[in-house]
Assembly symmetry: C2
Homo-oligomer: 383 residues x 2
């Protein structure tokens, strides 16, 4: 956008009010901008730190019009809002980053894989699943076991299941179809490592953060090691794939790209997210420019900041809720005992087991030392 002759401070609208929106807001504020939050319910972590927020249904045209009127440009913190709704916002004359077209190619995971595969990007074998009768065809086409996935709305393992038998298949279809009708099948990849890369792209430039290793537990990103312990050749290939994927969906803004490094050294794109990503949280404390600041810069079409690391090594560990109760640690003093640990708490009103409540980042020269310190701090924190 243009910054001459402004009548007001530029306002960035964010669809979603969770931790990704909240951390994006910090970056927007540091650059002097304002944020406007839309979320289904009020008092979300991001809405709590702005004067401008709207709560209600994404299907409420009047509400969306008021939201759009309050913004100069719009972005999002998840890929779950139907592309048609984003198109509605665009039809009101507002730019949305990433665009409704890009989101339309990403939010349906079958369409995402098909789009990427057509551009020659390596992905696991995948296929559409129409119903319980598709078991044998799937077993043949993508192999056994395979993943049965909801095409839309899946995250952190919700909406996914591994299928070993016809019974698994039928049961899972019945369960998943309760919420989401469209399904797909995908090869089960026996990977050596899960890798991830953040790519940020504007009309003028594309910047790429280092390749990191993502360690998942129960399908949720638990730890991130930056940079990943891989060869320069694999890092270069992974980076090329990540950039090609963003280009394949004509993506502008920031994207998190997850890849499998298979046992035989092959790289396969697992999923892409059109937004700041959990595997990029380490960038706040370990890179020249955080993923959130570059997200904001890209949305305003500003020059991007350096994606380089300022430390040799960094480890990020998610703080998943261990209990029901307050949204901040009850033992805050112990949680901050190590003077070199970076603690981030997302300002959620309450914790519950497994909920993403915050994260810890430790930077340093030795990966093992960072991991040890981060694990200690995460273990001790009662959140």
């Amino acid at each position: 956008m243009k910054f001459k002759n402004l009548s007001h401070t530029p306002r960035i609208g964010i669809l979603g009010g969770g931790q990704l929106a909240r951390m994006s807001a910090y970056a927007a504020y540091q650059l002097g901008f304002e944020v406007v939050i839309w979320e289904t319910t009020p008092a979300s972590p991001a809405a709590n730190i702005t004067k401008h927020d709207f709560a209600g249904s994404i299907l409420d045209d009047t509400l969306l019009r008021r939201f759009a009127d309050a913004c100069d440009v719009i972005t999002l913190e998840n890929e779950f809002i139907d592309a048609e709704r984003l198109h509605f916002l665009e039809s009101l004359g507002k730019k949305v980053f990433p665009s409704s077209k890009t989101i339309g190619l990403i939010q349906d995971k079958f369409v995402q894989k098909r789009t990427l595969a057509r551009k020659g990007i390596p992905v696991p074998k995948f296929m559409e699943i129409k119903g319980a009768g598709d078991y044998l065809r799937a077993a043949k086409q993508v192999g056994l076991p395979f993943l049965l996935k909801s095409r839309k709305m899946g995250y952190d393992g919700y909406g996914n299941a591994t299928v070993f038998t016809q019974k698994d298949f039928s049961d899972t279809i019945a369960r998943l179809q309760e919420r989401h009708s469209a399904l797909m099948g995908e090869s089960f990849v026996n990977f050596k490592k899960e890798l991830a890369i953040m790519v940020v792209r504007t009309k003028k430039e594309t910047c790429v953060y280092p390749v990191v290793e993502s360690i998942q537990e129960n399908h949720i990103c638990k730890k991130v090691i930056a940079p990943a312990a891989i060869t320069p050749a694999i890092a270069a290939s992974a980076t090329d794939i990540a950039v090609a994927a963003v280009e394949a969906v004509n993506g502008y803004g920031i994207f998190g790209i997850e890849l499998f490094l298979t046992q035989n050294g092959e790289l396969l794109l697992n999923e892409m997210a059109p937004r700041p990503h959990n595997t990029g949280h380490y960038t706040i404390d370990a890179c020249v420019t955080s993923q959130f600041e570059n997200h904001i810069r890209s949305v305003l079409d500003l020059p991007l900041g350096s994606c380089g690391m300022t430390h040799k090594s960094a480890v990020m560990i998610n703080l998943l809720g261990k209990r029901n109760g307050a949204g901040i640690p009850t033992n805050y003093h112990e949680a901050l005992a190590d003077p070199g640990t970076h603690l981030h708490v997302y300002g959620k009103s309450s914790s519950r087991p497994g909920r993403k409540m915050g994260h810890i980042t430790v930077t340093g020269k030795s990966r093992d030392n960072c991991m040890m310190k981060a694990e200690n701090a995460a273990a001790i924190t009662d959140l």
Copy 2:
């Protein structure tokens, strides 16, 4: 404070809504807390990023009661609020950091100097000035030329003047007494460098940031070089003086201590500020823990984070308003052209010549290189 069995997210009240409060709010948010802002007028930079703000006179007891009711603990972003008003907040049962007693020893610069001198801390010669008849006594006691200062409310050179003659003296007294009756005289120090140190202190620990060099233009901090190019012995003495000064006022919270390094290598404490300080802004991008995060930690009596630098060198340059107009750069694209420059814009509604609108920090291995990049970015930014 205690974090067990909380009924709500802890709220930190800040008296003042300018850039220091705003940057403190970012740090509070990252740790999961909320902030409550009091400022004389609404829509201040810090009030704009919270749901909880109060605007009105500091003399309005009802307003202050409502403010106090909304906070768990209270801090401040300047030393201009009369200690009696802080005492009023304390009388409502709220802890104020720094306390009304500490502020009472700092906000009157004559009392500040007397308190420090009595504890053996080296300060320039100083004396009380009662009226125009004191010229000869002052010339004899603190030497010519000397500084005539308002004892209260002075900052960035406002309320100060250098006196060379009886006429300077009489004219300045007439001018300063229009606003502030109490005055003091102080030796004019022919310094080699101005140094500054941030000290943060809780009941359990005292942490000290590196000694930096502050370069002033027209009595306003313009540039900060971290660390200062001084000998380890001078750095150690400066640090000892800074810690002793905070202890002398029984200070808890964060303090900015400004010192003169004289031509003959002597250190003299110039002024102390009981809050985050302009000379500590570099810590956001160049230290493990920013001055703002340690400010928030100290106010909540949490363990302090490391004050160590994460880069060999850093240069901070203030962006002082060059024009009347919008509070963000009209040439934002040029301002961010260097991918390694950290731009901070304070979200003020408008710019005017000389107003502190933001700052730039550049980190790196070479001081000269950081200075060159920071100067280029500051020169180009139209703010």
